[in-house]
Structures are given as C-alpha cells and as structure tokens.
Symmetry: C2
Subunit: 143 residues, 2 copies
Amino acid sequence: MKISEAAAASGCHLETIRYYERVGLIPSPNRTGSGYRDYTLADVERLRFVSRGRELGFSLEEIRSLLRLNDDPKLSCSDVDALARVHLTDIHQRIEALTRMAGELERVIAQCAGGERGTCTILGALRHTGHDVTSCADPGCRP
Amino acid sequence: MKISEAAAASGCHLETIRYYERVGLIPSPNRTGSGYRDYTLADVERLRFVSRGRELGFSLEEIRSLLRLNDDPKLSCSDVDALARVHLTDIHQRIEALTRMAGELERVIAQCAGGERGTCTILGALRHTGHDVTSCADPGCRP
DNA sequence: GCTTGAGTCTGTAGCGGCTACGGACTTTAC
DNA sequence: GTAAAGTCCGTAGCCGCTACAGACTCAAGC
C-alpha cells in the first residue's frame, strides 16, 4: 500500500505519516524496488492508533508510551489507566482555564456592546489594572 | 527602569519582553549609555496590555490589532468588539472540543478501571475502529 | 516507444509563542 | 578591587505539524 493510500486509510495526513516515521513513532515501512514506502495493514493500524490518540488529545510522547504498553502484553494495564487519568486531569484544567477566559471576555464584551462612545470597555479592561470593571476574585489582581 | 523591573511590573517574563520587542509588538525602549534597555511607565503599561491580552487568550496578532485600535481613538470601538467576539467564539469551540475529548476519555477509563485482565479497554479504544466500545454519534465513525 | 501528468522521494524551513543557552559586557555589593 | 549578578545579542530548541524545492518513478494515452 502506497503512502497516499495509507493516509486515506489511517486518517493521518500524508506528510504527517512521514513525520511520524522521522520521529520514530512508527517503524520505517518496507520499500518497493524504486524506494517507495510500502505499508502493510499492521502499519496502517498503528497509524490509526496514533490518529485516535491525537483525537483524544494525547501528546506524541504519551502516544509513544501507549504504543509501548500496547506492544507488550506483559506490561500492566494500570499504567495505561494512570497515563489516561493524568491526561484527563490536564484536559480538565485546560477546559477550566478556557472557561475562565470566556467568562471574563463575555463580561467585558457585554459592557461594551452597542457603545459607540470613545471609551471602549474591552480596551479599558486591557489597559487598566486589576480588572477594575469586573470583580476579580484573585487577590493578585490588585496591586 | 531596567528590563527585570519592567518584567516584574508588567507580568511578562524578561526574555518574553525582548521577544515582543523583536517581533515589533512593543516599540524599542530608550537605552542607557551602556546599552541597557530603559523602560518608561508607558512602556510598562503597553507590556501589561499585552500580558492581559495573553491572559484572555488573544494571539499576538490579535493583540497587535488591539494595540492599534487602542492607539488611535478615531478608530471604531465596534472593531474591537468584533475582534473580541470572534475570539470568544474560538474559545468556545476549543472548550467544546476539549469537553468532547474529556467525555470520551472518561468513558474508556471508566470501563477499564480495576481491570487487571490482559485486555485493556483504553488500548482497545485506540486500537479498534469506530469507537465500538462507545456510542459515537458521528456517522463517519463507522467504516 | 514517448510524452505528460500525477505521485513519491529527501531535505530543509516555516509556523506561534516563547525559553534557554553561550559568551561578552556592565553594574552592584562587599 | 574583586566577585556576583544583571544585561546584551544571536541563535537554537520546543511541539506537531505543513509546505516547499528539485529529483525521481509510475500509469495512462497516443
């Protein structure tokens, strides 16, 4: 199977596949006589593994670990579980940070909306200290 | 004011300040006789503006636009409003994507927890097609 | 057999937003 | 006077790709 077919079958972009090979995430596939990469179904499955891992937000290093855990059935399932839980915690933290951002942004936008006057509350929030147009719970906000 | 003081006063890391200068986000400050950067309060305010913009998740290019809008009071407040709304939509989309990830991950983790058996459902979810251990609403999931 | 176009090859550079050096200089503290 | 800390500049690295350039190979049509 050629690289373009492997790309279509795995959901990875063609250039991304070459990149994964370069960084050692997937093994180098066989080559045809003329030097073209020749992928097996097993190769494609590995690529799909990586692709699904990325969809779940795992880093390439995490996926590297997951692949190792997957390759060696003697290794413990609880390591996989631990890795996934750490990753989940990280995702939750990112969601929290973004939610905070969104909330703050919504507040300053709401105050600005419709205001054609010279003083823009959004710019004001960026200019002035301590979010003084809002109520910031963080004591570090006030200087 | 020296760069380390400007860093402390603005909340930007010292090396980050030099970076912002290099990419033209902030103007080059005055220099002392010996070539040290010498920041004014206006410089620090600009840095704080950038720092707060980053806290709200704006990209440096967005902040560049906001600075321009801020510098020229003749420009319309509604441009600021529009920029902020686009950014807010983007944040909401990122939250949504992360929430989807977290949900899926929670599902496979829940099925795996406590399982010391050889077949790990987390690895299974990564290996096998179409999230067959879950219920995926996306028709593209099934091949 | 020959041409054309599409696919593939390698290597390198770029993105964003920093961060971290190395080696030279200056300032500060004792 | 000397040692330590701060600053300077330039460059390279991080992640996870993506996009070239310039050389090749392959498949289809004539």
